[in-house]
Amino acid sequence: MAEWVRVAAVEDCPPGEFRALAAGRQRIVLCNVEGDFHVLEDRCSHEDLPLSNGDLEGSEFLCIHHGARFDVCSGRALCLPAIRPVKTFPVEVRDGDVFVLAG
């Protein structure tokens, strides 16, 4: 069942950066876009490969394996070869810690 899991402190992931983390058994990418946190599943929708090898560029995440791009807020695929969105997870900041609803 999904539950809120603390994954990092706010200062662990400064604006413009991302971190590959685990929320329980779920592998995620925590992205900080100008102070707002977004969480994607660490798995490209094109092939079963980790997104976290790629890069956060503004509000887009580039999967380095085949060049797919995703909107970090919605998970939407922005260019080929990806067609489907990547999974996103709800995220909250509580008392300087980042919590993710995952399971």
Partner: protein, 445 residues
């Protein structure tokens, strides 16, 4: 993360110390092999989806090796009345056998071997016993020719940590009319079990073998790892059948290799119905001219079951034949991957090699991946492969429904018919009925 739990006073993590503990009291050659296998295991990275053979199974996500502890190897009492109900039920369905071994968790609890086998020179016994009683035979064949640790991460782990298994040796010219049966029951949740099967059929001998594994559902991930080695010498005939009917929560992994000698027949059937994740690797090597292998597979997944079959047909000698047929039906969110390759090596002229994978998707959310590959380095060959993915044929269904069948019944009939084609090619006593019943149960669920 799951804590390593203590059962009957035994707590063992999967590490080098455990390998040393397993070696205790074993001959030096075996202890060395285990230690070597563990080194191989440590030197190999866990395969990722970037590896072709693991493209469709992300081990990172579906297996947590660190959370597992080594399963118990203590034998319980040999008292069939105390067996779990499903185990008893499946044993009741078994027909006559040349010999029957029953394993519960990591240890053999029951052996019932026909009296005349010993006088024929047939050796059928638990592998540990064979290590003691037939060291020369076991030493030369175990994890050497067929599934050595270098084959991969799981092969290495199994070679390091196997707790028991079966050794079957059939001497020249001996033919067994009834199959050998092995039934394994796994009960300990959160544990890892490693077993091996070693079958050596000398020239012109004949034997069939049915290997069945079952369990109830587990609430924590439980690993059953198998290594299967089948060797036929000139003109021998062997049929090997594996039935996997484990419960949910199980991670089943089986690495199989068959070595077929001159003019021998070495047929296999893999039936995959159970476990949450099931991975079967089968490599058939056709090593002698005129060797012949039928390779059959059948799978039926539902809920979120994940099946991955990885086969290869190596034609190393001329005039050999292999014919693979894997058929599967997928319901719910089930997903199946089939990756097969025919390799016709240089000089293997007059090869006949075929490979067919057919999938039936029964639900909106099921998924099938199929990679039937060919690598041909000889010109005088007959090779083909085919792969299809489709849904139930509406015309066929309507016809049956027009004959008064309900939609569910009609569907069941079509699915059973679709999968039944596979079993009709290896109609071993009792297996067809057992599998048909198991499929029907799944369809009703």
């Amino acid at each position: 993360m799951a804590e390593t739990t203590t059962i009957e006073g035994v707590t063992e993590a999967i590490n080098r110390a455990a390998v040393e503990a397993r070696s205790h009291g074993e001959p030096a050659w075996l202890a060395q092999r285990r230690a070597h296998a563990w080194s191989v295991y440590e030197s190999l990275p866990l395969p990722t989806t970037r590896r072709e053979e693991w493209r469709y199974t992300d081990l990172r996500r579906v297996l947590d090796l660190d959370a597992l502890h080594l399963g118990s190897t203590e034998a319980g009492p040999d008292d069939p009345s105390s067996y779990p109900e499903r185990l008893r039920a499946t044993m009741n369905e078994d027909h006559e056998a040349a010999g029957h071994l029953v394993f519960i968790d990591g240890a053999v609890v029951h052996t019932d071997i026909r009296d005349d086998l010993a006088s024929l020179g047939v050796i059928l016994m638990p592998l540990r016993q064979a290590v003691r009683e037939h060291p020369e035979l076991v030493e030369s064949h175990l994890a050497t020719e067929a599934v050595p640790p270098e084959e991969g991460k799981f092969a290495a782990l199994n070679a390091a940590l196997w707790s028991d298994g079966v050794f079957l040796y059939v001497p020249r010219g001996v033919r067994l009319d009834n199959p050998v049966r092995v039934t394994r029951w796994i009960s300990e949740a959160g544990a890892a079990f490693f077993s091996r099967t070693l079958i050596v059929a000398e020239s012109t001998s004949q034997v069939s073998y049915v290997d069945e594994i079952l369990s109830d559902d587990f609430d924590t991930q439980t690993l059953a790892s198998a290594a299967v080695e089948v060797i036929t010498r000139d003109g021998a005939q062997v049929q090997y059948v594996s039935l996997q009917r484990m419960g949910r929560g199980a991670f089943y992994q089986s690495k199989q290799r068959t070595l077929a000698g001159r003019d021998s027949t070495l047929d296999t059937l893999n039936v995959t119905l159970g476990a949450s994740v099931s991975r079967v690797d089968l490599n058939a090597r056709l090593m002698g001219p005129g060797a012949n292998s039928d390779m059959l597979g059948l799978y039926f997944g539902d809920d979120d079951q994940h099946f991955d079959h990885n086969t290869s047909q190596d034609h190393e000698a001329p005039s050999a034949r292999s014919d693979l047929l894997y058929k599967g039906a997928l319901d719910g969110h089930a997903r199946a991957a089939f990756r097969g390759i025919i390799r016709v090596h240089e000089g293997a002229q007059q090869t006949d090699a075929y490979q067919t994978n057919r999938n039936l998707l029964l639900s909106e959310h099921a998924r099938a991946d199929s990679l039937p590959n060919l690598e041909i380095e000889a010109d005088d060959v007959k090779c083909s492969h085919g792969s299809t993915v489709g849904q139930l044929d509406d015309d066929h269904l309507f016809y049956l429904m027009s004959r008064g069948l309900s939609r569910e019944k009609a569907e069941r009939l079509v699915v059973v018919g679709f999968l039944g084609e596979v079993m009709s090619r290896l109609p071993l006593g009792g297996v067809v009925e057992k599998v048909t019943r198991a499929i029907a149960e799944k369809l009703r669920a």
